[in-house]
Amino acid sequence: MIAKIIIILISMVTVDNFPLSQFLGICPFLGVSTDLDSAKGMGIAVTFVMTLATIVTWPVQQLLDKLGIGYLQTVAFILIIAALVQFIEMFMKKNMPALYKGMGIYLPLITTNCAVLGVCIDNINNGYNFAESIAQAFGGGLGFWFALTIMAGVRSKLQDQSRIPKSFQGVPIVLTTASILSLAFLGFQGLFG
């Protein structure tokens, strides 16, 4: 049980890394990786929301299944995530202004982050139990943060664009960087046999 949870945690950070191995959460991965500070804020916010969203959506899925309305999964999950994000934002604004300043501006963006909805649905599809689901969500968030930090570090070195071909400046060079990074993450494949 514990071993399985640890395996899920590690594999979500490396083998099944969301942005670099599963194409989930690419928009924030490319959009917010311009500097290390914002990467930290976004990474923490995503990890937090993902874990919380899983804690709420997993029991809701059991309820939906019990009532025989499992097909409402998509609608129910996205509404829960949207409401949850709104709630966290309001709570944080009122009670934790220092933290809000750090990661508050990233919260609204998370509603449309496909990694959050993706992990909630993936937990159900994989048939994970509650503890395993939380491990997957938390590991996925950490993996996202990890990839975002590497990407931000690389991009801060790319600031001087004078040596980049003109057509590749801007978005294409960032995508090429992501390609090379994901090549490195390909090396984790087979880590757990």
């Binding site: 670099l20 191995s21 599963q22 194409f23 989930l24 959460g25 690419i26 928009c27 490319l30 959009g31 097909y71 409402l72 999964q73 998509t74 609608v75 996205i78 509404l79 949207a82 409401a83 709104q86 202004p97 300043k101 508050g104 501006i105 609204p108 963006l109 509603t111 449309t112 982050n113 496909c114 909805l117 993706g118 649905i121 993936d122 599809n125 071909p165 003109k166 057509s167 590749f168 400046q169 801007g170 978005v171 294409p172 060079i173 960032v174 995508l175 090429t176 992501a178 390609s179 090379i180 994901s182 090549l183 993450f185 390909l186």
Partner: protein, 248 residues
């Protein structure tokens, strides 16, 4: 707004195809683009599914936009979109199960596709029903077109075939064009994997930059222009900045 009103119906439709292509120009909806463009078949299927949702949600949202209070508009839009995604999901599961399993997780994730919410926020909530439907169709087809281009490159280089697959059971006899067998060159498997996806996308974007270099400025940032959360996000940023100024 005045400028937008002058646009003819045809211009609204073609706007999304080339001039404001959601993926290549606005750089939104990148996740499904990268994930489902491993072959033309899955890319095309994804594009059509997203187009259907986009047209329907644009029509409903433009019809309802006067009734929806401004403050809760985003949750309302998401609910409408999620409803249509569920419909598409159930239809595909019933009639095209091969596509349903090929798209897998990315089918419910159409809900959070920035293109759909972005068009609802930027176009459908400000324009009439017919215009919104045309805009949805144009944007959706632009998305499909991009997916097909990326799918073609990745399929030819990666698997050595083109247009292969049984096309959702419609063309069972058709095997596609077998380039690998004809040329005797093995495919580069990496192109259908994650790094190849990023790399092909980078090259396609670079090509777009190359051909439009005189007409438009090169884009250094991602998606904020087309991002559906732009208004929320920038308002919050302004508020945070104000707070910081107040604190200082």
């Amino acid at each position: 707004m005045a400028q937008e009103k002058k646009k003819s119906k045809f211009q609204i439709f073609t706007n999304g195809l080339i001039k404001e292509n959601p993926v290549l120009v606005l750089v939104i909806g990148t996740c499904p683009t990268l994930a489902t463009s491993t072959s033309v078949e899955t890319g095309f299927g994804m594009g059509i599914a997203a187009t259907a949702v986009l047209i329907c949600s644009n029509i409903v949202i433009s019809a309802l936009h006067k009734l929806i209070p401004d403050k809760v508009r985003i949750p309302c839009f998401i609910t409408v979109i999620a409803g249509f995604v569920t419909i598409v999901q159930m239809l595909l599961q019933a009639f095209v199960p091969s596509l349903y399993s090929a798209l897998g997780l990315y089918l419910p994730l159409i809900v959070v596709n920035c293109i759909i919410l972005g068009r609802a926020e930027m176009f459908a909530s400000k324009n009439g029903i017919l215009d919104s439907a045309l805009d949805g169709a144009g944007m959706g087809l632009g998305f499909t077109l991009t997916l097909c281009i990326m799918g073609s490159i990745r399929e030819i280089l990666g698997s050595g075939t083109w247009l292969a697959g049984d096309w959702f059971g419609l063309a069972t006899g058709f095997k596609g064009i077998q380039l690998q067998a004809a040329l005797g060159v093995p495919g580069m498997g990496i192109m259908t994997m994650v790094p190849g996806g990023f790399f092909v996308f980078a090259c396609v974007m670079a090509a777009v930059h190359y051909f439009t270099r005189d007409k438009s400025k090169i884009r250094n940032s991602f998606g904020c222009d087309g991002c559906s959360m732009q208004s929320v996000c920038s308002d919050d940023k302004k508020a945070a900045e104000k707070k910081q100024e107040g604190a200082a």
